[in-house]
Amino acid sequence: MTINHFLSTFAGLPVVAADDEKSPGDPGAVAWRIDMDYDSGAAAFTTAFGQLLDRVGPGGPTALIIGEWGEAHDTPFPVEVLIDNADRLGALRSLFIGEMSFEQCEISWIQQTDLTPILTTFPLLERLWVRGSQDLVFKKRIRHEGLRELVLQSGGLPAAVVENVGGWDVPNLRRLELWLGVDNYGGDATVDDLAPFLAGRSLPSLTSLGLRNSEIADQVAAAVAAAPVVARLTHLDLSMGTLGDAGAEALLAGQPLTHLHVLNLSHHFMSPELAERLVDELPDVAVDISDPQTEEEWGRYTAVSE
């Protein structure tokens, strides 16, 4: 499966193209989306980014989506464009790097880079979303008091990234979403690598945990069923993965989940019986068991990998 849609809102703000001719009114009340043509070079992105900053004015956008930066299948995200313009990005609170459709660049091909400077340069950043994890790096010892939401969308999230993010000191992080992906595309994280998140000690503010798009979803579910962090969560998301009856049984047999507001298990391989039991046993939880999948002869697929 593939990604073929774009956000219409980000950080609660309507998305507006950077080169949209119509004025959106207050430039701080929209999420700006900058997106280059597939064959444009690095200089074009730098120029277009400067034009966006000119358009938005002092402080820059509060919310920014960066789509195709030009040959993203081959060219790492030019993080320095953001860093070099830091003095014009004082208002930046929400950032999504790499929102591209499958047609523009498949998720497994998006060439990321060391994004640590984003966190060290923008201490007021509250929301960071990243798509693609080819060559993605985050350093381990990061303290960031601003960050409230971290979403890493990947067809195969490297264990090194999971491990390092697990070492962060992010006392205000409320929402963490990791698309673990498949081993074939670099997703070699194991359940053991998730231990820091599941223990929850380093994430005192966490209320929403997503461990999505995983080909080890049954193991993840079993670990979650006994994870201390779960007691604090309102949202638990194990969707888009290969969750089957083994994972469902682990969730049913594990710690109580009745305090959750939302349990998202969509795109799953559970039998109808077990899926229904989960719904029945959690009457006050919005349990999403939509999009059931059928195992094919070559196995179970996650929702997004390639």
Binding site: H5, D37, E103, Q104, C105, S108
Partner: protein, 341 residues
């Protein structure tokens, strides 16, 4: 003047055209089977207004085309096998010459059919006319040359293939390669599958490309298509007598939008709204300009892609036999255009 059609008599293409002619109150067209044309049999003569239909989807006709084109005995292809596309094209050229020599008045011109069927020729014609098309490589001999080209995200198409047959959506950068295709590699043979699959290993991809290469390859940049409602899309615009009024949206979760690959039709009005009137009109204008490059051919099927940002568009292919579109009466419109001549 009496209508005639050269086609495969049992194919619904012929039935649909015959039906449209009858509905217009005209005598049913005389059918000239491709098998006869290819074996030296009769062709439509003077006083006949001739529609040339696709010779496709008939294993014996395919074999005869390859035999005629190569001048050597040809074996029947197995079901779905990609075999001898260059020879079949050469055979088509000779067969169209025979039809033209018969003296009938042709509704679609042999030279136009050949240009549209040859992807390199069609691309070159469109590019020279200023029609937006993705950049293409000069002819290449195989995988090694493709890799050496430095082009990293491309569509590889057999020069004389039809629909998605033998097409690969390929990305290659550094040591990593991936290809999305409906081609199935089986030993040293290639088959079209109805399932779009992915290859991640260079030896398989190289083998496929090198098996396709002797019949000619056409390599274009992968033009990222617009997406809507969670699917990538393009348009098949059948331009009949200069009018781009028969349009189908083809949507897909894979880069191949061809409808026989389990893909779905989309909503023309929704696409038009997403594109905006300016971009939509520009796209239709392009389709009309494409048809004007084939002025003596009654209809052409233009595959038009909107770009990822809906700001631009490009022509993926032009189909000489692209008017078989379920639910749209392209045949009735053509008969009406013939009657209005």
């Amino acid at each position: 003047m009496r209508l005639a059609v050269v086609g495969n008599p049992s194919h619904r293409r012929v039935a649909l055209f015959t039906d449209a002619v009858r509905r217009a109150g005209l005598p049913a067209p005389e059918v000239y089977p491709w098998r006869d044309v290819l074996t030296g049999g009769r062709v439509p003569g003077p006083g006949r207004l001739v529609r040339i239909e696709s010779p496709g989807e008939d294993a014996e006709v395919d074999r005869l085309l390859r035999e005629l084109g190569s001048g050597r005995p040809a074996v029947t292809a197995q079901h779905g096998q990609i075999l001898g596309t260059a020879a079949a094209f050469a055979g088509l050229r000779l067969a169209l010459d025979r039809i033209a020599a018969g003296g009938g008045e042709l509704l679609n011109q042999p030279a136009d059919i050949l240009t549209m069927t040859s992807k390199p020729d069609c691309h070159a014609l469109l590019a020279s006319a200023g029609i937006p098309v993705p950049p293409a490589l000069p002819p290449i001999s195989g995988w090694a040359q493709l890799r050496a080209s430095g082009w990293r995200r491309v569509f590889v198409k057999p020069a004389y293939g039809s629909s998605a047959s033998g097409v690969l959506a390929l990305t290659a950068s550094g040591r990593r390669v991936s290809a999305i295709t409906s081609v199935e590699l089986s030993g040293l043979s290639l088959f079209n599958s109805l399932r779009v699959r992915r290859y991640d290993d260079e030896p398989s991809i190289a083998a496929i490309v090198d098996l396709l290469a002797p019949d000619g390859l056409h390599v274009e940049q992968w033009f990222p298509k617009a997406v809507l409602g969670g699917r990538a899309l393009d348009l098949r615009v059948v331009v009949i007598a200069g009018r781009p009024e028969h349009i189908v949206v083809r949507t897909s979760a894979s880069p191949m939008t061809n409808l026989h690959l389990g893909n779905a039709r989309g909503d023309v009005a929704a696409v038009r709204a997403a594109a905006g009137e300016t971009a939509w009109r520009a796209a239709m204008e392009t389709c009309v300009r494409v048809a004007e490059l084939f002025p003596r051919t009654l209809q052409v099927g233009v595959d038009l892609m909107f770009g990822a940002r809906w700001r631009d568009h490009a022509v993926a292919e032009v189909n000489a036999f692209g008017d078989l579109v379920n639910g749209l009466d392209t045949h009735g419109a053509q008969v009406a255009a013939i009657c209005a001549r």
